[in-house]
């Protein structure tokens, strides 16, 4: 038979005894949380300060034009159609290069992740070639492919390829082996294990790779356009710098920043949609 009793309340303190004191809380800190508006408030403050410095004449507008001057420059570029003209070239180069590099990177990454032969050969090549700054290959690619769009697109594709391949095979390696063994224990065919276990398991790493390759593609398109292009945001920024049109130069930089933010947002949406189970 169980002996039961009611939960008791603390007994009053007897005379002469030391009074109880609360246990000191020691668990604070080490859990940083991003405030919802803190980032935006900080950004507005910096831009406001920058505008104040420009309006008050504290800085020479030739070296650092005020945000309002940059906004006007962007507005004029948009009105004249020059903004879209340059942007369309950059988007075409980034889009084509990124897609080609990503397709090749995903195929090679999966091959390295799934085949011993491909791993043996592929990792050696990737380790040797990945550290090369891809923009250094642009002159060689111009020699091989001519002076058209091809060498710029190939430079971007090369830069995207290596990072994608690495993130894909790292993702495949990170898929828990117990899930693969589980699928094998149910006689699930190889192609179905790849499609239904390895692909979704590697997806977090692949999407993280997309975030990196989007930045790599943006960096390479600007570099390539600065070296050998008439149109494109990189070429526009370089021309503006050469003509000391710093408001136009910074307008180009702001557009690049907005483009990067838009791509980041797109990848966030993809992650929310595809990785909702996390």
């Amino acid at each position: 038979m169980l002996e039961r009793s009611q939960a008791s309340t603390p007994s009053p303190q007897p005379d002469g005894e030391i009074a109880p004191r609360p246990v000191k809380f020691r668990g604070a800190g080490f859990t940083p949380r991003a405030g919802r508006y803190a980032g935006w408030i900080g950004l507005v403050l910096v831009i406001g300060l920058w505008q104040l410095a420009g309006s008050a004449g504290w800085v020479n507008p030739l070296f650092l034009p005020a945000p309002s001057a940059i906004a006007v420059a962007i507005y004029k570029l948009a009105l004249s159609g020059a903004l879209w003209h340059h942007l369309s070239y950059s988007i075409m180069r980034i889009g084509t290069g990124w897609i080609l590099g990503t397709i090749a990177g995903v195929i090679v990454g999966f091959a390295i992740g799934l085949s011993s032969l491909a791993r043996g050969v592929g990792i050696t090549f990737i380790s040797a070639l990945f550290p090369i700054p891809k923009i250094a290959l642009l002159p060689l690619l111009i020699l091989w492919l001519g002076i058209g769009e091809e060498p710029k697109i190939a430079t971007i594709a090369l830069g995207v390829f290596f990072s994608t391949a690495i993130s894909v095979y790292s993702g495949v390696d990170a898929v828990p082996r117990n899930l693969i063994r589980m699928a094998q224990s149910f006689n699930v065919p190889f192609h179905a294990i790849v499609r239904r276990v390895i692909w979704p398991g590697a997806l977090p790493s692949i999407l993280a790779g997309f975030r990196i390759t989007a930045s790599v593609a943006l960096l390479l398109v600007v570099s390539a356009e600065m070296i050998g292009a008439e149109f494109g945001i990189g070429a526009f920024v370089l021309q503006a710098g050469n003509l000391m049109q710093t408001d136009q130069l910074l307008a180009g930089v702001v557009i690049l920043s907005l483009f990067g933010l838009a791509v980041g947002r797109l990848i966030n949406l993809l992650e929310t949609r595809l990785l909702h189970w996390r």
Binding site: R181, M182, S185, F186, N187, V188, R196, P200, G201, W277
Partner: protein
């Protein structure tokens, strides 16, 4: 259908893990495998289930599986092995998608497996939303969905708290009785072994050899009675005395490794 361990030996590199292990699991029989840590219990189960090629001997099947069995040898894993991106129903359906069953038939099978494991209300939940016990129920439902002839259970309760273990043990007993399935149950928990098994294969410390095969002298139904408790505890103590010294040696070996 019978499962036979026929002189199975295995080594990982220079490390002998199993040495000449032989025993047989008859149709509808539950055989527990116990032994000190590192004696090769899980390795043996992987070999029996065809997930690991032994370096000596082989696992064999005798007799035809039931006609409706989609996967005669089916595992229930210690860590549940659920696909985190699939819902409960999708996890249970996972091994059926590549069978000859059409979508409607699969749905019927999944519904039945979920009902039998008490998961009907959780069919749309993701594994991360479930407790450990519920996750293992999903693993069991997935195993039941393919109508196995022999369940291979690798410490299925060891990752769970004692209350959940007790509840799932009752479920195992009920399901095994209902389906007349055979099972190989790897465990280091002697209480689970004596409650569930018809026979217990005791392995020696590494390299694991069959040290003794103990038959439990009562049916699973009889084990629920108060009179049986004393006998089961006695059996448990006998088993413990068989493996205690080796378990201590194995523990020291692990600490020095």
């Amino acid at each position: 259908m019978e499962l036979i361990a026929n002189h199975i030996s295995h080594r990982f590199g220079e490390l002998d893990v199993l040495d000449d292990v032989s025993f047989q699991v008859a149709a509808g029989e539950v055989v527990a495998i116990v032994g000190p840590s590192g004696c090769g219990k899980s390795t043996l189960l992987s070999i029996l289930g065809g997930l690991l090629r032994p370096t000596g001997g082989q696992a064999e099947l005798r007799g035809a599986p039931p006609a409706d069995s989609l996967n005669p040898l089916t595992f229930v894993f210690q860590d549940f092995a659920l696909l985190p991106w699939c819902t409960v129903a999708e996890n249970v359906e996972f091994p059926l998608v590549h069978t000859a069953l059409d979508a409607a038939a699969r749905r019927t099978v999944v519904d039945d497996a979920l009902r039998r494991t008490g998961l009907t209300d959780f069919r749309g939940a993701y594994p991360k939303q479930l407790s450990g016990g519920m996750r293992q129920r999903v693993g069991i439902a997935r195993a039941l969905a393919v109508k196995p002839a022999i369940l291979l259970m690798d410490e299925p309760l060891s990752a769970l708290d004692s209350q959940t273990r007790e509840l799932l043990m009752e479920d195992f007993i009920r399901l095994l009785a209902a389906d007349a399935m055979a099972a190989v149950y790897v465990t280091h928990n002697l209480e689970e072994a004596v409650r569930l098994a018809d026979r217990i294969v005791v392995l020696s410390r590494r390299p694991g050899r069959v040290r003794e095969v103990v038959t439990i002298p009562m049916t699973r139904d009889e084990r629920g009675g108060i009179d049986a408790r004393g006998k089961l505890i006695g059996l448990q103590n006998e088993l413990w005395s068989l493996i205690r010294e080796e378990a201590i040696d194995a523990e020291r070996e692990v600490q020095h490794a």
